[in-house]
């Protein structure tokens, strides 16, 4: 089973500014793998352990995004590839999804593509859907658990006789969804997918790994962006309001809450 996990390097949100010339946000300071992407990678590693298979990590970003791919290798992915180049600066959701999907196709056969539910930066939750669309694959979002069953009678799945069930968080309750492979899923945080810590040895080995880079030319991709940012500004911060003294707090707060809840 070939599992491909899309990972994104994100900043910690503390030091961001907008570059209007390049139409892009510049992040400085600490970076890390997006939290939900770690859950997705953990899910992939568990599925690979259960079914036998290879986990690859792929990212779109600048050269320094190799750091998150190395983190992925250290956690247990076998292969890593970076999509990078000037053409990808300021990529919108469409451009990002297309580049990732074309790169996934280029790397060969896949059974399952996993993404995090959303990134802590763009928060769109849309790239997984874009990849599914580009790959013409079914999509299950907000996955919080996976179950696999052998079934000789099942002929929808490509990987042997595997039935695959995903549990999906939805507003009206969690759904159990049966899906045929190949498929794209987005993974949310859950107890089942608590990311493992890499060993020191695995981290050292990953740090020495050479990460191949795919360019827009390799994908025969013409950079095209449908959405153009006009301006980006910081939200004015909330300011501290009224502090109640301990003595008066019950009476005042109770009246306040009643008023607020009624309006």
């Amino acid at each position: 089973m070939n599992l491909i996990v899309c990972v994104k390097q994100v900043g910690d949100g503390s030091n961001l500014h907008f570059d209007p010339e390049a139409n892009t946000l510049i992040r400085e300071g600490e970076t890390a793998m997006n939290a939900f992407d770690k859950n997705a990678l953990e899910a992939a590693l568990q599925i690979a352990e259960q079914t036998g298979g290879t986990v690859s990590v792929i990212s779109l970003g600048p050269e320094k995004a190799k750091a998150v791919l190395k983190e992925g290798l250290a956690m247990g992915a076998e292969k890593a590839v970076l999509i990078s180049g000037e053409e990808f600066k300021g990529s919108d959701i469409f451009a990002t999804s297309r580049a990732l999907a074309l790169a996934i196709q280029k790397t060969g056969e896949f059974d399952l593509v996993l993404c995090g539910r959303q990134s802590s930066e763009g928060e769109s939750s849309m790239v997984g859907a874009g990849i599914a669309e580009e790959l013409k694959a079914p999509l299950v979002t907000n996955v919080c658990a996976v179950r696999m069953e052998d079934s000789a009678s099942y002929n929808g799945a490509k990987c042997g006789d595997m039935r695959v069930y995903f549990e999906r968080e939805q507003e009206d309750g969690n759904q159990i969804i049966e899906v045929s492979l190949p498929a794209v899923v987005t993974v949310t945080k859950s107890k089942s997918f608590e990311p493992r810590f890499p060993s020191v040895r695995a981290t050292m080995k990953a740090n020495r790994a050479e990460i191949p880079v795919i360019t827009a030319a390799d994908l025969s991709l013409k950079a095209e962006t449908c959405v153009n940012l006009r301006e980006v500004s910081k939200t004015p911060p909330r300011t501290q309001g009224i502090m109640f003294e301990a003595g008066e707090a019950v009476e005042k707060a109770a009246e306040l809450l009643c008023r607020l809840a009624l309006t």
Binding site: L16, L25, E171, I177, G241, A261
Partner: protein
């Protein structure tokens, strides 16, 4: 040379669940009405399913000029593959200027697939839209990075413009039963063999089915609540206020609440009218999920807790000792107000 097709009209995807339209879709009819008036376009409610006749009047009463219903037996249950196909058929026939979706679990799947299939411009988590008459285009406002950045964007005119909007960003317009509009049904050919997902079960336990995104009041607890048992105090307060219980990451990681209740960067992003943070210190990852709330009340025994820097009302108190007194006082007031509170 292709004939130039002029995109027109503002479409709202009307998400229905159990024969009822979701609140967020109704909210979008209000925002969509304003945009349609500014741009001199029609506002169209889009229904997809097996049957939806009984929903059409409400969509018109809340502001739509037209209702288009894509119908097929294969569309009885939501699937992003089936519903995207249905939307594609409608969009290729009528060429909408923009399509708006509620940012629900299903709405986001559908918006993402549809935008990509139609090669549209996609704005996620839109918080405002205005018509620029000079440029004859929509200027979209959206927030990202946990509400800390606001962007303004435009889409190239050759693209259909697609936006998702979180619940409670806009207010629901009142229903005007005297409004008149037209509804049209379009049978669409959707092949069951092209739908590869199948919902075989829904786990409807109370701990799973929580709609924090549409809640008007959220009572949330953090590490300062001390134990799973103490979350009952939050349940009590939420019950009298007609709200639901949320939790910080720390409380979920401790096992005091289930994951669907988590508010923050790795949980839900909410914007209730009232957010009551109990025993939550206010880490930046938590604020990323609730800073858009209308009113924030914080209860914490640490006077230096960062949550006090961003709250509208702060109470320095031990939540375990304070909450029972507060809840009981609210009950008294509510009784005096003759059960006017939604939770009563």
């Amino acid at each position: 040379m292709n004939e130039k097709v002029l995109n027109k009209d503002i479409w709202i995807y009307m998400e229905a669940e159990h024969g009822k339209i979701r609140n967020v879709s109704l909210e979008l009819l209000g925002a969509g009405r304003l945009l349609a008036d500014q741009s001199n376009q029609k506002l169209v409610g889009i229904l997809i399913g097996e049957n939806g006749k009984e929903l059409q009047q409400e969509i018109i009463a809340r502001g739509a000029d037209l209702v288009y219903m894509a119908k097929a037996p294969e569309l009885k249950a939501f699937s992003s593959e089936g519903y995207t196909k249905a939307l594609q058929i409608l969009a290729e026939r009528f060429h909408p200027l923009a399509i708006l979706f509620g940012a629900t679990a299903d709405g986001k799947e559908l918006a993402g697939r549809t935008a990509h299939r139609l090669h549209g411009g996609l704005i996620a988590n839109c918080t405002g839209m205005e018509w620029d008459a000079a440029e004859q285009t929509v200027i979209w406002t959206a927030c990202s990075f946990g509400g800390s950045f606001i962007s303004r964007s435009v889409c190239g005119k050759q693209y259909v413009q697609i936006a998702t909007v979180r619940p409670s960003v806009f207010s629901r317009p009142a229903a005007d039963e005297t409004r008149r509009g037209e509804a049209a049904e379009y049978p669409v050919a959707v092949s069951a063999s092209k739908i590869h997902t199948n919902v075989i079960q829904v786990l409807k336990s109370a701990s799973m089915a929580v709609n924090l995104e549409e809640a008007k009041v959220i009572v949330a607890g953090g590490r300062g609540m001390g134990s799973k048992e103490n979350f009952a105090l939050l349940e009590d307060l939420a019950a009298v206020l007609g709200g639901v219980v949320g939790a910080s990451r720390a409380a979920v990681d401790e096992g005091w609440q289930t994951q669907p209740h988590q508010v923050g960067q790795t949980g839900k992003q909410v914007r209730p009218k009232l957010y009551i943070a109990c025993g939550i210190s206010g880490a930046i990852q938590h604020l990323a999920g609730m800073t858009e709330s209308d009113t924030i009340i914080a209860i914490n025994k640490d006077p230096d807790a960062p949550i006090f820097k961003i709250c509208d009302y702060g109470i320095v108190a031990d939540a375990m000792e304070y909450l029972p007194r507060l809840t009981s006082r609210i009950r008294e007031i509510a009784a005096a107000w003759d059960g006017l509170l939604p939770g009563q």
